[in-house]
């Protein structure tokens, strides 16, 4: 059972994530409750811990706080809580996908699913997705280093100009990194056509079953 999510074809998982995410915004509250139970079941199946559940939300804490206060300001607290719950579900669903699928498989799934529309640019889209997954934690760690460096130089209270300095430093670091990644891509012979893949994908009966389940969800 613990390999159920890992053994699924990544295309099925990707389609599932996209469909559930879209339905969360168009279906009634009962669907949100159903999605919460589904996420809880899948989280348990994937052997992910409770602490990971909260860690996944941490980077979005500012956004959630903003959303909450915006709805409080508008006098609609209940709707604010529902929205935060909805966005949390979105993050958990995406977290489930990323933590049970290697990026190589994810890139291939994106490439195969988008090739009919994007043609040769499909691989580039997949690789960009892979780079995002790979470099967001690195950027987070760099942002902590910059914050610590500012704190170690006696910064106790953040003023708007400190935020400006922080953003400027982070932008500089990101641009430098993008340049180095570009060099690495050229150096490693990156191409968007005539390529092969380390993985091979194949739909099995489990995937067909899940696709039928997703179609039923869409129909209901």
């Amino acid at each position: 059972m613990d390999n159920f999510l890992k053994s699924m074809d990544p295309r099925t998982k990707l389609l599932g994530v996209l469909l559930l995410s879209a339905l969360l915004f168009v279906k009634p509250l009962s669907f949100q409750i159903f999605s919460t139970l589904l996420v809880a079941f899948l989280w348990n199946t994937a052997n992910l811990s409770l602490s990971q559940l909260f860690r996944a939300l941490k980077p979005m804490s500012f956004f959630f706080a903003f959303l909450f206060f915006a709805y409080v300001f508008l006098g609609n607290l209940a709707e604010g809580i529902l929205q935060i719950w909805r966005f949390s579900l979105l993050i958990w669903i995406a977290h489930l996908l990323v933590s049970t699928t290697s990026t190589g498989k994810l890139v291939l799934a994106v490439e195969r699913l988008t090739r009919p529309i994007l043609g040769r640019r499909a691989r580039t889209l997949g690789i960009l997705l892979s780079l995002t997954i790979r470099f967001i934690p690195l950027l987070q760690s760099e942002s902590e280093t910059v914050r610590d460096a500012m704190k170690s130089r006696c910064l106790r209270k953040w003023k708007p100009r400190h935020f400006g300095l922080f953003i400027e430093r982070m932008l500089g670091k990101s641009i430098e990194r993008v340049g180095r990644i570009g060099d690495a891509f050229i150096s490693r012979g990156y191409r968007d056509q005539g390529t092969t893949s380390y993985h091979s994908l194949s739909f099995r009966s489990l995937d067909y079953g899940i696709l039928v389940f997703l179609a039923v969800l869409l129909w209901i």
């Binding site: 290697s102 990026t103 190589g104 892979s130 790979r134 060099d183 891509f185 191409r191 092969t196 091979s200």
Partner: protein
């Protein structure tokens, strides 16, 4: 084999490299020595075809360095190897270059496993690259380069961020593969010269010295005597 003839980059006072001529033969492990800002990284990028020279030529086994043919014969490990890993697991990342040149999946798996064994890092195969130490990351970056069977290897300050233990692992791995490759590594650490068969000394963008490490030591001692 690397052949650089009258290689220059930049113009006038902003010139970063001036008429650099040298060659690195197969089986040689050549150190590119110089202070920070002496032009080492620029020279490596020119050799790797990442920059185009203002004048002069670079050939890899007789092909222009910016051609696809030369690019496949040459691999470069960057100063911060973390920047050159694309996928999140080790085996997938090693396969990235092989995917790009269209190697068949069974052959790709065989080459990835073989290179992991050769570098003694088979145990890292399924690991997430974000969980690797700096030394391990560097070996994985090297594996990604070696998987393409290059004849020429370039390293930009490979030992700068390594501790003594990882340095020794790195040099052991490099000596193992050295006989079949032309290797050029940049450094500003004199300790690294003991691993080199030849030294190129770069200063202010110009090549000041091309000889063996012992010849360099003698030249430096002579200079010190003259300076009193």
């Amino acid at each position: 084999m690397i052949t650089s003839k009258n290689l220059s980059f930049g113009y006038g006072r902003g010139s970063l490299l001036k008429e650099v001529t040298f060659s690195v033969k197969n089986g040689e492990m050549v150190a590119l020595l110089g202070h920070n800002g002496s032009g080492k990284t620029t020279l490596l990028k020119l050799l790797n075809g990442l920059l185009s020279p203002t004048s002069g030529t670079v050939e890899i086994d007789g092909s222009d360095s910016s051609s696809n043919d030369a690019r496949q014969k040459m691999g470069m490990v960057f100063q911060n190897p973390e920047d050159q890993l694309v996928y999140t697991t080790v085996e997938e990342d090693i396969a990235f270059g092989l995917e790009n040149i269209g190697v068949s999946p069974p052959e790709m798996r065989r080459r990835v496993q073989s290179i992991l064994r050769e570098l003694g890092i088979s145990s890292l195969s399924k690991r997430e690259v974000s969980t690797l130490s700096f030394g391990q990351t560097q070996l994985v970056a090297l594996a990604g380069v070696l998987a393409l069977n290059p004849t020429t290897l370039l390293f930009d300050e490979p030992t700068t961020m390594l501790d003594w233990r990882n340095k020794s692992v790195f040099w052991r791995a490099l000596k193992k593969i050295a006989p079949e490759h032309s290797i050029l590594f940049s450094t500003n650490d004199l300790q690294d010269l003991k691993h080199a068969t030849r030294v190129l000394l770069l200063h202010g963008g110009a090549l000041l010295f091309d000889g063996t490490p012992s010849q360099l030591t003698r030249a430096l001692l002579k200079r010190a005597e003259l300076d009193g």
